[in-house]
């Protein structure tokens, strides 16, 4: 590895090309979106997602995939493969448990957002509002955290900044390169999302997912060659660290007795990854936007293969990284991927440009995540709050204008929050993901499959799931008991019995939801029947209209159902 890692202009050129391609895709999406009504087009892509778009845009990769995760492998070794192993079932659980039913219910009710779906399924505007507020809460945390990561990748690509400072600690230093990176990142991602809405987010996400795969495969080939294979790399890395780098519970650089993956956390993280995917509002919306069950079926195996091609190679790359660059200080381990990208390509023809292509992987992951969250936040405010409660008769011009204002405002707030970047980026991302999962997974399952679920039951389930997460994170943050497991970070939860809070959040949410539903009045039988029973062909249209009518008080006058929209 060269001692000096010089970022040439090629890396910046590659990233600029990447940005231009993303903007171009945004303009194409803008044209495609105009085929239908504004709301369904802008927030749901007119329910036209195909298999590749659905599978590779499930927003499972974020900034953490290429920053926090590689740092963990570099620091703790092979045990991180067990930590991430839950991803082996994420595609099949993400699409196979709720996918078909969610897609069907959203069509029957005409729902565009997750709160829409809850509101129509139970005939309760209040339920929709509570769900919207929770979504806005979790999504805001996640979005702001991602802006910082995007800015840092841009900063690295600027020649002459000496900015290999992707770590959270180093990034707190604010300089011109960071601010320029933040500005360019924000203008790009807000710009193309404004242009094409949901479709722009999805199509750029698809493009970026392909770039991520190319980047990972390139880096895998380069690092494996340099390290002499996986076995050689493992032995070399273990010689620099110790046997725990190869075995569980993972290497502890501070030798403080902390166990990165004790068995209880290995068990917990299967729940973390699976239910974070299942309960993600952004993921649910994408399923609602799929064009058919054929698309959902194909997405399962496409995403399965894709995840394996991203995560297992990333583990191998970072094990090789420990062998090739053995002594990164603790605060610098987030730099392992860009350091490897620059180091491995330094002697190649057009090496700087190739490094830029590899750096496009984390940049793409962050952009894809942010654009998707922007759409969810805007839809939450515009559709679920403004149109539902403040101005039910809003016309398309007003909705479009407000959507633009919301996205620009979210971008501005995120920039303001990122000028003094938040600490604990990865921990905040995990908190938001698992918090949303504990809040929405059980209610979503009850909504989809349980006739006896009631409004008080669903509300209690959401509140108890979220409350459990907030209590356990609050206790951990305040320093109440550290069992010396998991990551070293101040923003950590209290691991009750060594388990991640999501396990307790899901369990409590399930108990509360079931008990309260059973002890409250059964839901309206006619409403349930419309969504759970087969509808005679002649009454299908009427059933759909009635379902919508049941909750139309805050929605404005019902529109007549055009013939071409009638169910077959």
């Amino acid at each position: 590895m060269p001692e000096q890692l010089d970022v040439g202009f090629g890396a910046l050129a590659a990233l600029i090309l990447f940005i231009l391609a993303s903007m171009w895709i945004g303009t194409i999406a803008n044209r495609a979106m105009q085929k239908g009504s504004f709301l369904k087009g802008f927030f749901l892509g007119n329910r036209g997602l195909g298999a590749w778009a659905l599978a590779l845009t499930a927003t499972v990769q974020s900034g953490g995939t290429f920053m926090g995760f590689p740092s963990l492998v570099y620091t703790h070794g092979w045990s991180v493969a067990l930590w991430i192993a839950g991803y082996m079932v994420v595609p099949i659980t993400g699409f196979g448990i709720l996918g078909k039913r969610l897609a069907s219910l959203s069509r029957r009710t005409g729902a565009i957002t997750v709160p829409d779906l809850l509101r129509e399924r139970f005939g309760s505007p209040q339920l929709g509002l509570v769900a919207s507020l929770f979504i806005l809460f979790y999504m805001s945390f996640m979005t702001v955290a991602q802006f910082k990561a995007g800015a840092i990748v841009m900063k690295i690509a600027f020649p002459g900044t000496g900015a290999l400072a992707i770590s959270e600690e180093a990034a707190t230093g604010v300089d011109t390169a960071y601010l320029v990176g933040l500005t360019v990142f924000t203008l790009t991602v807000v710009g193309y999302t404004l242009l094409g809405g949901f479709l722009a987010a999805v199509w750029t996400d698809l493009f970026q997912s392909v770039m991520m795969l190319i980047g990972v495969v390139l880096l895998l080939c380069l690092t494996l060659t340099a390290a002499g294979g996986i076995e050689q790399a493992t032995l070399a890395a273990a010689s620099h660290t110790g046997p725990n780098f190869v075995f569980g519970p993972g290497y502890d650089p501070q030798e403080s007795g902390r166990q990165f993956v004790p068995i209880s956390l290995a068990f917990s993280f299967f729940f973390v990854w699976v239910f974070s995917g299942l309960g993600s509002p952004a993921g649910m919306v994408r399923i609602m936007a799929s064009d058919s069950t054929t698309t959902i079926r194909r997405s399962i195996y496409l995403l399965s293969a894709y995840n394996a091609l991203i995560y297992i190679p990333l583990v191998i790359i970072c094990i090789c990284g420990r062998a090739l660059i053995p002594d990164l200080p603790p605060g610098k381990t987030d730099e392992i991927i860009p350091r490897l990208a620059l180091g491995m390509t330094a002697h190649l023809p057009l090496g700087s440009f190739v490094a830029g292509l590899i750096l496009a992987a984390p940049f793409g992951a962050v952009m894809a995540t942010v654009s998707s969250y922007l759409v969810v936040i805007a839809s939450g405010l515009v559709r679920d709050v403004y149109q539902r409660f403040l101005n039910p008769n809003a016309n398309e011009y007003q909705l479009r204008r407000l959507s633009s204002i919301v996205m620009i405002a979210v971008g501005a707030v995120a920039v303001a929050a990122s000028i003094r970047p938040v600490d604990y980026l990865q921990a905040i991302v995990v908190f938001s993901g698992t918090g949303a999962a504990a809040t929405f997974c059980v209610p979503a399952l009850m909504t989809a499959f349980w006739r006896r679920a009631t409004v008080p039951g669903i509300l209690t389930s959401m509140l108890v799931g979220a409350g459990t997460m907030l209590c356990l994170y609050g206790a951990g943050f305040l320093g109440y008991g550290d069992p010396l497991v998991g990551q070293v970070t101040r923003f950590r939860p209290y691991f009750l019995l060594g388990l991640d809070p999501i396990v307790w959040g899901l369990a409590n949410s399930l108990l509360a939801g079931v008990i309260v539903s059973l002890f409250t009045s059964p839901p309206d039988a006619a409403l349930v029947s419309r969504l759970f029973d087969a509808q005679p062909a002649a009454t299908k249209d009427a059933a759909s209209s009635s379902t919508t009518d049941a909750t139309s008080s805050a929605r404005g006058p019902a529109c007549p159902v055009p013939d071409e929209m009638a169910r077959p």
Binding site: L39, L82, T93, S304, A534
Partner: protein, 107 residues
Amino acid sequence: MQRAKEDPVLVSARREAILVVVAFLAAMTYTVVYCAQRGYQRSLDELKFVFGFPDWIFWGVVLPWSVCIAFSFLFGSVIMRDEDLGSDPESEAPPADASHEGEVPNA
């Protein structure tokens, strides 16, 4: 009173969801139990490599991951049934104000 026939999409979705949950529990149990037994409290002298991976990682993570990919393919191509998802009941918003016609391309 006789209960109405269940929506066929619900019937197949529930059957498939149960199968997926069983697969999830099986994968989690195998991986966590195998890795707990073979991946902890060992010394480097006992370490063997399978296709370059430490043996416990290969048998405990890489192999079940491969099986899950194969099962996902089987599930997605054979087990999961295609159903008619239906279509939306109505448009979401009233038409644009006449005063703004022409300003919104997709109105």
